[in-house]
């Protein structure tokens, strides 16, 4: 991976600990800048619309607007942003629905943080729909 560019990421999760830890994890790896955080689906859409990040790490169970509702909106307000769902629900329950709604990758919470970062790099550097990762 010789690409030197920094991927701009928005983190959307209603649990402050998760947001903070994800930020720490991504900032510890080179190549990421966490440019925004959102605590619910509406905020996620607003942040994505104004920041047009390379990717959003998106929780599904959130107040006001859940992740599944947010996905089509995110695609609409910033078509270039890749949507990486990071959910507490196992893939068997939600993965298909998330990908059908327009998410690019589905990850289950609890996977190694290295794999979250790898999936972000893969999807941002345009290695297609990385639907297999979970």
């Amino acid at each position: 991976m010789t690409d030197e560019r920094t991927w701009r990421i928005v983190i959307a999760d209603d649990t402050p600990d998760i947001r903070e830890l994800l930020r720490l994890i991504l900032e510890r790896r080179h190549g990421f800048a966490v440019v925004g955080e959102a605590a619910d689906g509406r905020e996620a859409v607003a942040q994505t619309a104004s920041l047009e990040p390379d990717a959003i790490l998106l929780d599904l169970a959130m107040p006001l607007m859940d992740g599944l509702q947010a996905i089509p909106e995110l695609r609409r307000v910033s078509p270039r942003t890749k949507i990486v769902v990071l959910s507490g629900f196992e893939a068997a329950v939600m993965k298909d629905r998330a990908l059908e709604s327009g998410a690019h990758v589905y990850l289950t919470k609890g996977i190694g943080t290295g794999r979250i970062a790898d999936a972000l790099i893969d999807v941002c550097s345009g290695e297609g729909r990385h639907a297999g990762a979970c």
Partner: protein, 217 residues
């Protein structure tokens, strides 16, 4: 040339036909004395086959004996009320098929004695709607519980595992402790869910295996 009683008679039948329910008039002996067209269609019998027959003909066989007893009780103390309050009632068509019904009863004093007016309504749609709304309410409750577990337990453990990967063991320990608290609160909440009745002994015996253990890769 219609005589006055004939006119009354005609008007009475007109009233019956205008009633939106199936109407069955039953005498003190339990015989059907009059029905309207809705009742004929509801039960699939022509009028001539109903009038003079015991009203039990319109019930599934398994309810007939009990109905005779209830009917005697009703004639002893007749009043306007719903039949079988709190029970699911069924009618039986001529072809033997059964269907859920709602029935309201009212006594009418006549020169020939007390006649009971039974208004019968097909309850198929109502019960289907009730079943559906019960199922939806149960689904909604389960969904709330799933979200409670997700928010209270999955999120906490996911955060703890991230903290561990970052080498922040103090933070991981604190997150695990918080998660344990919220898991206990959820368990307490779930056990309290069904009213104030104390848990019977044995209620905490788990059906094995209570938790599906997933193989770790």
């Amino acid at each position: 040339v219609t005589r006055p009683w004939q006119q009354l008679e005609d008007e009475f039948q007109t009233f019956l036909e205008a009633t939106p329910d199936g109407v069955v008039l039953v005498d003190g002996e339990g015989r059907i004395v009059r029905v309207n067209g809705h009742a004929e269609r509801l039960f699939g019998y022509p009028r001539a086959e109903l009038v003079g027959s015991p009203v039990e003909q319109l019930l599934p066989e398994r309810f007939r004996d009990r109905h005779r007893a209830h009917r005697a009780g009703y004639h002893a103390r007749p009043r306007t009320r719903a039949m079988g309050e709190g029970q699911e009632l069924f009618g039986r068509r001529k072809d033997g098929t059964e269907f859920p019904v709602d029935i309201s009863l009212g006594p009418v004093e006549t020169q020939a004695g007390t006649v009971v007016v039974a208004a019968v309504r097909d309850a198929t749609e109502r019960r289907r709607a009730e079943d559906l709304s019960r199922r939806l309410a149960a689904d909604e409750l389960r969904r709330q519980q799933a979200l409670e577990l997700n928010d209270g337990v999955v999120q906490g453990l996911a955060a703890a595992s991230m903290a561990m990967e970052l080498g922040d063991t103090d933070r991981a320990r604190a997150l695990v402790a918080d998660t344990l608290d919220s898991a206990r609160a959820i368990v307490r909440h779930l056990l309290e869910e069904h009213g104030d009745a104390p848990l019977p002994p044995g209620a905490l015996v788990r059906s094995a295996p209570a938790i599906v253990r997933r193989d770790r890769r």
